[in-house]
Amino acid sequence: MADLTTDFLGIKSPNPFWLASAPPTDKEYNVRRAFEAGWGGVVWKTLGEAGPPVVNVNGPRYGAIYGADRRLLGLNNIELITDRPLETNLEEIARVKADYPDRAVIVSLMVPCEEASWKAILPRVAETGADGIELNFGCPHGMSERGMGAAVGQVPEYIEMVTRWCKENYDKPVIVKLTPNITDIRYPARAAHAGGADAVSLINTVSSITSVNLDNFSPEPMIDSKGSHGGYCGPAVKPIAMNMVAEIARDPQTAGLPISGIGGVTTWRDAAEFMSLGCGNVQVCTAAMTYGFKVVEEIKAGLSRWMDEKGFTSTSDFVGRAVPNVTDWQYLNLNYVAKARIDQDLCIKCGRCYAACEDTSHQAIAMNPGRVFEVKDDECVACNLCIDVCPVEDCITMERLAPGTVDPRTGKVVEAEYANWTTHPNNPSAQAAE
């Protein structure tokens, strides 16, 4: 069995699976049970300033998007940060950390954007013995209307400033949690880096309206006939999160900055994908909220089995392995020519490839008598749509044309050499190949 122990910023945990700051980590009761269930660490539900805690709505705070059979694909929430007193949370954190020294306990924080507020709370967090802090610059609803959360996360200067205050007033690792509700994720990441952050974690939730009630004409979840945008998470946001992670991982300005990956992690495969894109660990919220703490068993067993199959002994063997292969479009090899191939034995003759290609792509699939579908090599641009819509796995595949053969579509001989857009004759600003 591969060793799942991870060291993230010097914080050790028995596995790289932490529960993200959210309801699963809202209180001692949950966190103890999560640790018993096998989670490697938790980021405690975000704490606010001392004094009267925030209040949540008293109506529904979640909305959902379903796939077949009511599989939850996306969850939307309008919950605020913890609505329990600061003192209660701090006492609980201290107790839990003392009882679970081998698990990571990170405290998520969100206080007003004033140095005094941070100076007030940081020593109190330090006293709990927690392993580090995470700055919640991501919450896109409610708190942002009060100048916190995403309101800070959307202004790189504030991120840098607050991060610096924290680094000056707290001596354990500082993780900056980023909001995806921004045009270019590299700017906030660079700001966190400049402020001295030990790591960034991402993503927080994506601003969203999951559905509209067509009888009341109000967004859901509906509170007394009104709705407000919420934050979207769960499997649906994973592609968005992974792109943002990869952008930061390959940005020379933030190279080497540790990343904690969040957003839709549900299975071992999701975790492996995030980690291969450069995340030292991953955080999970919706999967636990959907299936309970037990999901971690599958994530742990699956990752460990996969590592064994791959011959990886430690997570560091594959963290970041995919980063060098994430490139810009302009560097993709234009001499890589492929054609779709339909396996007639596997084909069930549904004709979806035909409809998709004929109606919306390149008219490159022929429907022959007897519902025999065949690729027309002289039209196929290898776009992959047929594969994406085919219900049978591996029925349609892409086959690379060997260099030296003629592409019937272009009539040109396929070149063996790599050549990209930067050197392409159609590119007005092409440079001659060296």
Binding site: A68, I348, Y354
Partner: protein
């Protein structure tokens, strides 16, 4: 249809002869409950999600009424079962009955690509039932009639063919009178289909729903060849559609054949019986035949409480008219299927005591007796060896014992159309009858409005 409870039988249940009350009320209710129970909304959503929305879908090609199956399934999937029902009814006004009785395993579901892929087709029949049930519960007829054309059409027979034809004509603005020999409309939907396929008087409810479009009058007890004649109808109406099905049955050629009962009449009695505990059934029942009627008679005999039920079919299993699903259904109810046997003699003195069967084999493409025999104890023998057309009016051409038609049911007489079981061509199925009735109506409409 719940698994029929098989506990140790009582003396009453084992009584010799043809007797009533072999099963209690509760057992009968259980045995004759819905063969394919309706889908709950969530089940329907999940079942609908399995459809691939195929291009030029093979299931549609396989449907005799050309229902746009992927479209209606998608409408269920998007939460619009009423829209789904409309898609179905546009092609097949008896979509509710067809959802229950179609041998989908040899039609749409056999063609479904998921049958090819994983031997588990999309449950098209049950989804169709889900949609049509939802619409029919709404108790509002989904079609309005076009402006009156002033034309009148006479239809003979209120079976699926006649009803489908009548509805379409009424919708197009013509006035329709259906002459029906029996006391109730519905044809074999009412008198023939197995009870567990259409429980709770669905056939009658569907006819009422269909008629609520208006413009259709049914005259029951009015038989062609008795009170009315084809010539009379042709004189009094602008067009005539014949949908009288097959009223006769083939004769059994065997010694003592007169002691064999007609399976179709047995089923009709069963369908019309308000209390199945008073319907008598034999202890040892033998059904001669290999089609759907034979299977239905056998299964229902078993469900009524017959101890031993055997279907004796003269050819091999592969030639059986009943689908594999029907055969398996029979086997699961405890019916014994015997192949390559034909009746030699029904024995008994006044009442049936046994039946002697001769084994057969096919030599040079011909079925020949081998000389070996087997004798089964029997107190009731049913023949289900095919129905025949009776009382064909003059002026019509016959083909293979049925009314010859061309195109959309045109007969040798320019103002007479025919469809359903009584017309040549097509399988003898409810859905085929609906398709033929509908198509004839369109042709009649074209003719009456001068478009053809």
């Amino acid at each position: 249809m719940g698994a029929s409870t098989q506990k140790a039988s009582t003396r009453k249940e084992r009584a010799d002869g043809i007797v009533a009350g072999r099963r209690t009320k509760a057992q009968i209710a259980d045995n004759f409950s819905d063969l394919h129970p309706p889908l709950a909304p969530h089940e329907a959503a999940v079942a609908a999600d399995r459809c691939y929305f195929c291009h030029d879908a093979p299931c549609v090609t396989a449907c005799p009424t050309d229902i746009d199956i992927p479209l209606f399934i998608r409408q269920i999937q998007t939460g619009s079962p009423m829209g789904a029902a409309q898609t179905i009814f546009d092609q097949n006004i008896l979509g509710g009955m067809c959802a229950r009785v179609c041998p989908t395993e040899t039609l749409c579901e056999e063609a479904c690509v998921r049958e090819t892929a994983e031997s588990r087709p999309v449950e098209i029949g049950r989804l169709q039932r889900y949609a049509t049930d939802t619409a029919m519960r709404a108790n509002k007829h989904p079609y309005d009639r076009a402006a009156p054309t002033g034309k009148t059409v006479a239809i003979v027979g209120a079976g699926p063919a006649g009803l489908a034809c009548a509805h379409r004509l009424a919708m197009l603005g013509h006035d329709v009178v259906i002459h029906e020999a029996r006391p109730k409309p519905g044809g074999l939907n009412e008198y023939g289909i197995a009870a567990y396929k259409t429980p709770m008087n669905f056939a009658a409810a569907e006819v009422d729903w269909l008629l609520s479009i208006g413009g259709i009058t049914i005259e029951t007890g009015s038989a062609l060849g008795e009170a009315i004649s084809l010539d009379g109808l042709r004189t009094n109406y602008d067009a005539v559609f014949l949908g009288m099905g097959l009223g006769g049955v083939n004769a059994l050629r065997a010694e003592g054949a007169d002691m064999a009962e007609d399976a179709v009449s047995f089923i009709a009695d069963l369908r019309q019986s308000a209390d199945l505990t008073v319907l008598p059934i034999g202890r040892d029942v033998v059904v001669i035949g290999g089609g759907m009627t034979a299977i239905d008679a056998a299964v229902q005999s078993k469900l009524l409480g017959a101890e031993n039920v055997t279907v004796a079919y003269r050819r091999g299993q592969e030639d059986m008219g009943a689908s594999r699903f029907e055969q398996d259904l029979a086997a699961s109810k405890g019916v014994k299927l015997m192949f390559n046997v034909q009746p030699d003699a029904v024995k008994g003195d006044g009442k049936v005591e046994a039946i002697t069967l001769t084994y057969t084999e096919t030599r040079d493409g011909k079925l020949e007796p081998t000389g070996e025999t087997a004798t089964l104890p029997a107190d009731q023998v049913f023949k289900a060896i095919g129905q025949t057309l009776v009382a064909v009016p003059d002026g019509l051409t016959l083909e293979g014992g049925k009314i010859a038609v061309t195109g959309p049911g045109r007969t040798a007489l320019a103002d007479v159309w025919a469809g359903g079981d009584c017309a040549a061509g097509g399988e003898d199925l409810t859905v085929t009858a609906v398709a033929e009735g509908r198509d004839a109506a369109m042709d009649i409409h074209a003719k009456l409005t001068g478009a053809a």
